[in-house]
Structures are given as C-alpha cells and as structure tokens.
Point group: C2
Chain length 245, copies 2
C-alpha cells in the first residue's frame, strides 16, 4: 500500500518515538482524509483515511484514562469524568501529538498543508487517537494502555492536582499570528464585586472583530474563557461569516 | 464486607447468569447509592456504591462496542458513532439488565425500592455498566469484551441493519400500568401534507394529564416520540409537579 518514500517516513516516525507496531496500520493512522481524497481525485490510488481508526482510538483512550483514574486515584465518578474530559481534550492531545512530532509525519493534502493543517489541533489530536488504535490493533490493549500511561500520566497527574491549565490565550495568539499576522487584543469590559469575590468580563478582538466574551473570577480566567471562544469561532470558520460574535 | 444474606443473593445472581467473577466486586456493582446511603445513615456500615464502577464500566462498554463495530462492519465513523449511541443507550442497556434479572438482585434503599427503583431504566442500565466493570476487574478485558459480545451482539446486529426500534410506547405502558394501574392514551392532534410527505402530531395523556407531544412522518413515529417524552417526564418526577407538559 505504501510507496518507498511513505514507508521511509513511517519507519522514521516509529523510530524517533520507539513505536513498534504494524507499519501499514501506522501509515493509515497518519493518513488524513485530505490526503486520501486528493489521491483518489488525482490518481488511481484508493486509501482509507484515519477516520475510522480515530473512532476506535478515541474509545481506547477513554478506556485507558478511565482505568488509570479508577485504579490510581480515590476520586468520585464526577471528578473522574471531569479530569478525563480535560486530559482527553483536543488541547492536551494535540500537545502530545506535537511531542511525538506527528505534524511533521502526517500525510496531508496540498491544500490542507498550505493552510497550516500540520499545526491544526483537531488534525493532530485525531491523528494521535488513530495512532493509539494502530498500536492497539498491532499489539493489544495492554500495550496501548501503557502508551497512554507513558504519554499522558504527566497531564493526568497535573489535572488531578488541579494544576492543569489549558492555555487558550497562547493557542489563540499562535493561530492569529499564523493566519492573519496579527495578535488578539483583550479588553476588560466589566469588573464587579468585593476583593474576595470579584468577577471579570473580558472581550477579545481579532482583526477588528469581536470574537469572544469570557467571564471569570480572575482577569486571567476571563481572558482564557474569551480566548477559548475565539479559538472555537475561528476554527469553525466563523471569521468568514457575518454572524459574530 | 457482605453479610450472609447478601452473599447468598450475589451467588444466586452469578449462578443464574453464569458469571464467574469476584463476589465482592459483583456485590459492589449491585449496590445502588440509595442502599449505601441508607446503611451509612442507619447503621455503622460504610459501603461504596456502584457509581465509580459505573464510570469504569461505561468506558469498558464504549470500548467493547467500538471494537466490535470496527472489526466486524465496514461502516464509516459517523455510522459507528450513531450505532454505538443506540446500542449503548439506557433503553437497550436496561433491557439487557432485565434479561440478567438485575432488578431482582440489586440492593436499593427502602424508599427507592418502594417508588419502583428496581424497574427504573437508569438504575438498571447503570448497574449493568457497573457489572461490566466488575467482570473486567476480576477477569480482564477480554472476558468483559466477550460478555458484551454475548449480551449485546443481537442489538448491535439489529442496529446495523437499521432494525433496532426503541419501543417507548411499550415501556410507557408497562410503567403506567405498574405505577397507576392505567394505560396511556394517544390522540392525533394534527395530520398534514400530501400522501408522500405526511407529518403527524400526537399527544399522549396519562391519568388525565398531558405528558408529551410528539411529531413524526408516520403516526407510529409521532406516538413513539410522544411516549418517549412522557416516559422522561414521569421518570424525572414531573407527575408530582404542576409544570406539565
């Protein structure tokens, strides 16, 4: 299925990450739909993209995180759910995907690559999940669980300690600089309450457009909340439409 | 942890269902929070309820269904998600729980038992998930996956064929007869459109109270939709309040 050049990339990817798994499966995990669609349109090569594997890998991840939480921490089911959602978020998974250098090895269509697909959090997080499925299908669940433990324990422990802060402000700035060559600007539009019980409302503007309003008990929290909304708005393509915020 | 009587029930439950697993774990899976809360209030016995196990069991279930779908069917990830949601629904899981006679063996607080807790779909479905966790923790994932296959393949195959209809009308009738000794009545309040594009609006009345309005392209679909809403209303305790429908 792979050509020589593709196989070389896959071998290199496995080697730098000490992954020992079926190469065809790893290749499939790294095939974004933009790549397989492009091949189908321009050549006679029909490949399956990583989308079905992502579905399976998501289940492997959720199970692995649930097991690690259940076995290692005395938390209620509500706390376990919350922590799993944080650690299994696109934000964290895309970080881990970057640590694995997935962006350099993923196969993308030309259009997707030129618009920064190799840096897009959703693409990276999905590929990480597909990679997990490839490891599970090659070597069984125990190996996949160990891979999750190895790669995500750090985030899991931080989340349990309440110290996992997902930095949306940095992500937003990276994205707006890459896409528009400009930085977001934050304005506090309300500040209420006595010193011990303050509340802040912040708006964030990108390219002269109001993209998000966030609230929080600190200015930083309100900014993070506004940044998260702006990120979502941009990633959902709302910058191109008129229905903002 | 268990007393003699409890152990007897647990052994019987395992025996009728050919389940071979750690008895203390099975006991925990069958301990609803209303039971453990009651014990904590009235005695010095402190037991853990099945809530944490339910969290883990849910992950075991989602993983098992994902694996069965991925390995056995050529479906897109969207189709797999949809089918997994149907098969993993409270509706289906409570049916399977009834096949396992969980309602007869679950440990409930007195209040919960008297208000029909042993028949409540959410309690049954949750206990089934906790049971899955008990099997997984006792015998490993392969055994849990086989248990899911054995108990849910039928529903999975039907869902893939598009033949899994969740029958809310029957559930509603069973519930109203058990609780009020009466049956729901359905009235078609609107019928629109040409023969090839009809739309129906149906209302359902239980004990002289309008409990749900449903719409659909067939009368049956509209009735099912109304029945689902009525079921939810009753199970959420809305029959006791004035804010209906």
């Amino acid at each position: 299925m792979m050509n020589q050049e593709e196989e070389k990339k896959v071998i290199e990817f496995c080697s730098i990450n000490s992954i020992n798994a079926n190469r065809e499966l790893i290749f499939k995990a790294l095939c974004h739909s933009s790549f397989t669609n492009e091949l189908a349109q321009n050549t006679s090569r029909i490949l399956e993209s990583n989308e079905r594997m992502e579905f399976l890998g998501d289940a492997v991840l959720e199970f692995s995180l649930a097991t690690l939480l259940y076995r290692n921490f005395a938390l209620s089911e509500g706390e376990m759910s919350k922590i799993r959602a944080m650690v299994g978020s696109e934000k964290v998974l895309s970080k881990v995907a970057r640590e694995l250098r997935i962006g350099e090895y993923i196969f993308l269509g030309k259009g997707e690559r030129h618009t920064g697909g190799a840096e897009r959090e959703s693409i990276l997080a999905d590929a990480f999940e597909a990679l997990l499925a490839a490891i599970y299908l090659s070597n069984g669940l125990e190996t996949a669980l160990n891979f999750v433990r190895e790669r995500l324990s750090h985030y899991l422990n931080k989340a349990v300690e309440g110290a996992l802060v997902l930095d949306y402000k940095t992500s937003l700035q990276e994205l707006t600089q890459a896409r528009f060559g400009s930085r977001p600007s934050y304005t506090t539009i309300r500040e209420d309450g006595p010193p011990q019980d303050k509340s802040f409302k912040v708006e964030v503007v990108v390219e002269d457009r109001l993209l998000g309003i966030g609230e929080g008990r600190t200015k930083k929290a309100a900014e993070q909340s506004a940044a998260r909304k702006a990120l979502e708005a941009i990633l959902e393509g709302k910058m191109d439409r008129e229905d903002l915020p």
